[in-house]
């Protein structure tokens, strides 16, 4: 072994410490970049009847979030119909518009599926008395007063865009086994009910495994058909696409033989085990 001089050791240790610090700071910086990654694909709707403002805002948003997909509406009614057909991450809503103003449009949009949480930012003239209160009451989340600068839009996007969203969706991708948008549809505004909803799914499925076995052991085809129909309904409501398909096959089976040949009961039991496992981990 080579003898180590104290200076050398000191130098090496110091260097190591500095290096690891550098690595740490780089990691932290990276995390910040990831958490506010404007290069992600955001779907942003701009509602404004003034073409100049519209063009300016489009340009500013493209500068900040270059991969975003922009939707434009010239009045409130158009904004509503765009929301009915698209998944929107954020809305810039001019308040004074013809046809349907921004406040009325927001009221309607809040009633749509999946639009309870969507950030809607009011673009106001900034001098109309009581407008702010009306906006809040209608469900708008924040305000921008005209004239709008790039910095204002940057701040609003940084504050309201959900930068974690895409990642979450990726890690929660259960394919056709579990489509979480169905559970979210029925439970969106209510965390405690969501828990209860998932518990009901798990209970219903666990119960049905027993029932499938009992009917199958008794070779009770009619019982199996009816149970298949019932579990199919639950599976559809809960977004369990593969299970819905398997149970529909059981519902429509015309003989015990057919069930056996296609191993439908075993497949259903395996699928139920899998989705229960998923449901316990979301």
């Amino acid at each position: 072994m080579k003898p180590i001089k104290s200076e050398e050791l000191f130098d090496t240790l110091r260097k190591t410490i500095i290096d690891s610090k550098e690595i740490q700071t780089i990691e932290i910086e990276n995390q910040e970049e990831i958490s506010q990654d404007f290069s992600k694909q955001f779907h942003i709707l701009i509602a404004d009847d003034n073409l100049v403002n519209m063009a300016l805002n489009q340009q500013i948003i493209k500068n900040i979030a270059p991969n975003s997909i922009l939707y434009t509406a010239a009045n409130g009614a158009e904004a509503v119909s765009i929301c009915q057909e698209n998944k929107i991450d954020l809305i810039l809503m001019d308040i004074q518009m013809p046809e349907m103003n921004g406040i009325e449009a927001t009221r309607v949009i809040r009633l749509l599926n999946n639009f309870q949480e969507t950030p809607i930012i009011a673009v106001t003239a900034g001098n109309v008395k009581g407008e702010k209160e009306k906006c809040l009451d209608a469900g708008l989340n924040d305000f921008l007063a005209k004239p709008i600068r790039e910095k204002d839009i940057f701040d609003v996007l940084e504050k309201w865009l959900d930068f974690s969203k895409k990642e979450k969706n990726e890690t929660n991708d259960f394919g056709n086994h579990l489509d979480l948008s169905m559970i979210n549809n029925y439970t969106k505004d209510d965390e405690s009910f969501r828990k209860m909803f998932i518990e009901i799914i798990i209970n219903e499925l666990e119960k049905s495994v027993q029932e499938f076995e009992t009917y199958f052991n008794k070779q009770n085809l009619e019982g199996l058909n009816q149970l298949g129909h019932k579990v199919k309904g639950t599976a559809k409501t809960a977004g369990l696409t593969i299970l819905a398909d398997l149970t529909e096959q059981i519902e429509k089976s015309t003989s015990i033989n057919y069930l056996q040949e296609n191993q439908l009961i075993i497949k259903v039991k395996t699928e139920i085990e899998l989705v229960i496992n998923y449901l316990k981990n979301i």
């Binding site: 009633l111 169905m182 029925y186 209860m196 909803f197 219903e204 009816q226 129909h229 409501t237």
Partner: protein
């Protein structure tokens, strides 16, 4: 205001119950058509929400029974599935007031309920 729900899918039943209770309504839960018809006869019900395919008596049978009974004016909302358009038409012919296709939005349902109870 008391609302009766007839639905054999426990998930949908509990979801509607939860939403309507939050809105301040009383709810009566039934899991098959026969139970629903007897509850409608014996309790004060201001509005009925019913599934179409159910054991013992279908949603259509419930509509007919209600429209022939002393509660013939009670507003009714039908819950149908995709591909049941024919049944929805029949439900309207029998006297249903409104319908929703599953999967539906609980918020939209509560808006429709509010409108029918006005």
């Amino acid at each position: 205001m008391q609302i009766l729900i007839a639905e054999d899918d426990e998930l949908i039943l509990k979801t509607i119950e939860h939403k309507l209770k939050k809105e301040g309504y009383k709810v009566v839960l039934t899991r098959n058509g026969k139970e629903a018809i007897s509850k409608i006869e014996n309790e004060d019900i201001d509005l009925i929400i019913t599934d179409i395919m159910m054991p013992f008596a279908s949603g259509l049978e419930i509509i007919s029974a209600v429209r022939k009974s002393k509660n013939s004016e009670t507003p009714m909302i039908i819950l149908s599935s995709l591909g049941q358009e024919d049944v929805v038409v029949e439900a309207f012919n029998l006297g249903a007031n409104d319908f929703m296709v599953k999967p539906f939005s609980p918020i939209e349902l509560s808006v429709r309920v509010k409108k029918l109870l006005k």
